[in-house]
Structures are given as C-alpha cells and as structure tokens.
Amino acid sequence: MSQQFFTISLLRDLEYRANLVSMMLSGLIWTGIPLIMFKSIYLHANQIAGWSWSGMLILMGTYTLIDAIMMFLLINNMNELQSDIMQGKLDFALTKPVDSQFYVSFRQTNNSQLFNVLPGLLMILYGLHQTGWSIHVLYVLGYLLFFFTGMVLYYSVWFIWTTLSFWLPNLQSRERLFLDTVLMARFPSEIYKGFMGFVFTTIVPVAFIANPAAKMLMGKLSMDTAIYVLLLSLVMLVLSRFIWKRGVRAYSGAGG
C-alpha cells in the first residue's frame, strides 16, 4: 500500500518535472521564433535601421529580460486587479495598511515567468560576444539605469491600462491587448515613424521600453533621447499614481 502511494507520488513528481521542462522549452521557442526571423532577414540584409545583428540580439535580449521580470511581477496582479475593479471587490485591498497602489501591483508573483530570464541573458551575452566585448563600464551603468526606466514604462503603461477598468469596465480582453502591444517593444524604435512614432514613443511609449538600454550598452544613445526617456518614465509613473487615486475616489464615491 505505502509502496503504491510512493509510486503514485513519484509519478506525479515526474509529470510535474515534464511539465517544468516543457514550460521552459515553450519559453525558449517563444523567444526563439523572432530570433529565427531576424537571423533570416540578416542573411539578406546587413543592417535594419542602423542595427547590426549583434545589436539586434542585445535589443531582443533586453526586451526578453524586461518582459520576463515584469511578467513575473505583474501578470497575476493585473489580472486580479482588473477583476477586483469589475466585480467591486477592491475594498479588501484598500483597507490594507500598506500603500494601495503598491499592494495591488505586487501582491503575488508568478514564478514560472522567470524561465525567460535565461534566454534573455544568453542573447545579450552572445550579442556582446559578437561585438568583441567592446563595452565601457559607464555604458554598463547606463544600461542598468535605462533597464530600470524600461521597467518603469512597462509597469506604468500596463497599470494605467488596467486601472482604466474603473471607467471602462466592459473591455474584456484588456490584458491580451496590452500583451499584444508590448511585443512591439522588441523592434528597433526607428521603425515607428510619423503618427505611429508619436503614438509609440509618447502616448503608449512601448518603443522606449528596451531600445534606450540596448542603445546605451552599445554607446549609441543620444543625449536628447536619454533625457526624454528619463523624464517620460517619471511622468508616466506620476500619471499612474494620479489615475489610480482618481479611480479609487470614483470607486469609493460609488459606494463600492
């Protein structure tokens, strides 16, 4: 009898392990597909909007890394926040003795998302290897700074988008639309020109999530863009705060 129990639990563990392996594999495939596409394009072209293959690797690696960390922090919480707002169950979160925006943003993590950190790091390291490791210490520090502003922008856009549920509760597929949009962050920001450029660098600034950090690491970030991105991430963060406060007030005012 006990042996049978042992066999069953062992089988279950193995099944979980298989699950773990396949989750890692699907993460690898998910990050690998755009890589294959870009590698194929570079077979026919030397550069895309001034980006060499090594630069593109660093850009996509940076995007993958930021995306993995932010998904790890936010995916469960944005989901829950949206349903709390829509079903009027936010009171529990509002009565917590911590800052309510902080609480609803980071209450629980989704650990399996961290798998994608590894392919992200590998892409960056391989890209750097291809450039012959010609990096300055200052560039690395700058990289960390703009990696952080990238995370702030990722957070602010998603949080504001979710918080809009206070006023537009009917939009069911809100999350998927964000996830579709944020995928555009892995492309060079140079492709967003004209009206689209205005949208993706100002209103929904996904173009500045991964691009500034990657350019910084290669020493190609202009001073204008650097200052703009620093200010923009600050403004977006303050805006997320402002919209959250307004939303909570509307929610409490409605007796929710």
Binding site: L25, I33, M37, I41, L43, N46, I48, D180, I191
Partner: protein, 273 residues
Amino acid sequence: MTNNTLTRMLKPYLRTMQLSWQKGLEYRFGILYLLLEAILPITAMVLLWKTIYESNGTMAGYTFNQMVTYFIAGRLINYLVLYPMDWKMHEMVNQGTLSSLLARPVDVQSYYFADMVGNRIVNFVLGCTPLGIIAILLRNYISLNPNYVELILGIVAIMLACGMWFLLSWAVGCYVFWTHNLISILFMKELIVMVLAGGFFPIDILPSPMVHIIKLTPFPYLTFFPIHVLTNTVNSDEVMNGLMMQAIWLTILFILGRILWQIGMKKYVEAGG
C-alpha cells in the same frame, strides 16, 4: 402581395436585426478591440518591413508590397484555417464529455468536422470586417493580380488547408490518451507549426537547405501555399503540384488520425473511461 403583409412577414427579422444591432453597439469596445487586435500586429510588421526595405530592394524575391500582402493574406488564412481540435480533445477527455459523446450514434470525428465547418463561417464573417478595413487602409501596399481562376484555386487551397489543419490537430490531439497534461505540448506545437507553415513570416526567407526540408513536410501547405495561390505568385504547374500534395497529405493525415484514435480508444475503454 400587399405592402402590409410584406411588412408583417419581415417584422420578426427586422426586429432581430435591430436587437443584434443594439447588442453590437453595447459591445462597441469589443469591436474596437477586435479592430485593434487585428491592426496592431500588422502595423508593426508593415513598419518593420518598410524600414528593412528602405536599404534593400527585394528580400528573398519579395518586393515590399508582396511582403505586406503576404502578411495580410496570412492573417486571413489563419482566421479561416485554425481550429483547435487538439485543445478540444484535451478538454473532452479531461472533463469527461467524451464518454457522453461516445454514447451517441455519431462518429466523433465527423461530428467535430461538421462543427469545424460551421465555425469557419462565423470566423469568415468576424475576421473579414477588421481585415477588410486594414486592406482598405493599406490598399496602396497590396499587390493582388485578380484573376477568377486563381481566386477559385485559392479558395480550393484554403479549403484543403482547413481539412489538413483539422486532421493534423486530430492526430496530435490523440496524444491525450497517453498523457493527461497536454497543454504545454500543444502550446509548443502551435508555435512550431505556425513557423513551419509560414504563418509568422514567409518560409523562403530562411536559409535554402532549411526551406527544402520544410517543403517536404505537410506544414507549408497549411498557410504558405494557399497565400501564394491566393496572391497569384506561383505558376500553374506549382499550383497543381501543391493541390496534389495537399490531397496526398490529407489522405495520410486522415488514415493516421483514424489509426491513432482506434488505439487510443482501446486504451480509453480499457481504463474504464
């Protein structure tokens, strides 16, 4: 027939139309979402390729307009072809609905085939609206050589691709009889099949040895081939060849699916399902 009786006859239909219109207005954000969901990825792709083509004349034989047309036609064909038979099989075994289906005097595969066909019609109507809008917005970039023969052959190729996708998903879905946790496998399969089918980008931009190998598999006949027939970018010999390959793969996948189902069924019944 007097005007009065005509009005009375049409009244219920007009009322239904009015109701569905009101319902549609209620879900206007849903429609907005459908539009954005269709427009955003295509916009990103168009902008990316536009930049790439600024420093390159052609890419693996595609001009910029042909590339844009490829992506839009690819979206349309994916709307029409994708049917999650494997996910449905996963659901039906794990939620136990298979047993009640088996008790009915229907062939399970034919039952789902009929469901798939009905579903295609809904998808056609739902998918064509946003794609039509995109096509109008991007009309300057689209290169089509309208030709009735090619159009009919394109529709035939899409219909065969629908059948192939259904039978392929069926064969993959039969794996559910051997494992209960299929979800991550199905997710991976979807991504890999989409790449090999040319659903993410045209497969012929890949290195040529890889293209040769991929063309021996059934996958390019799911998306890549129908796109080329529909956009009239292959010659008639290649079209006939491709249609024949589709028919051959359809037969192979059908037999494979039947065999796997039989073996799986035996296992399922023995397990007392």
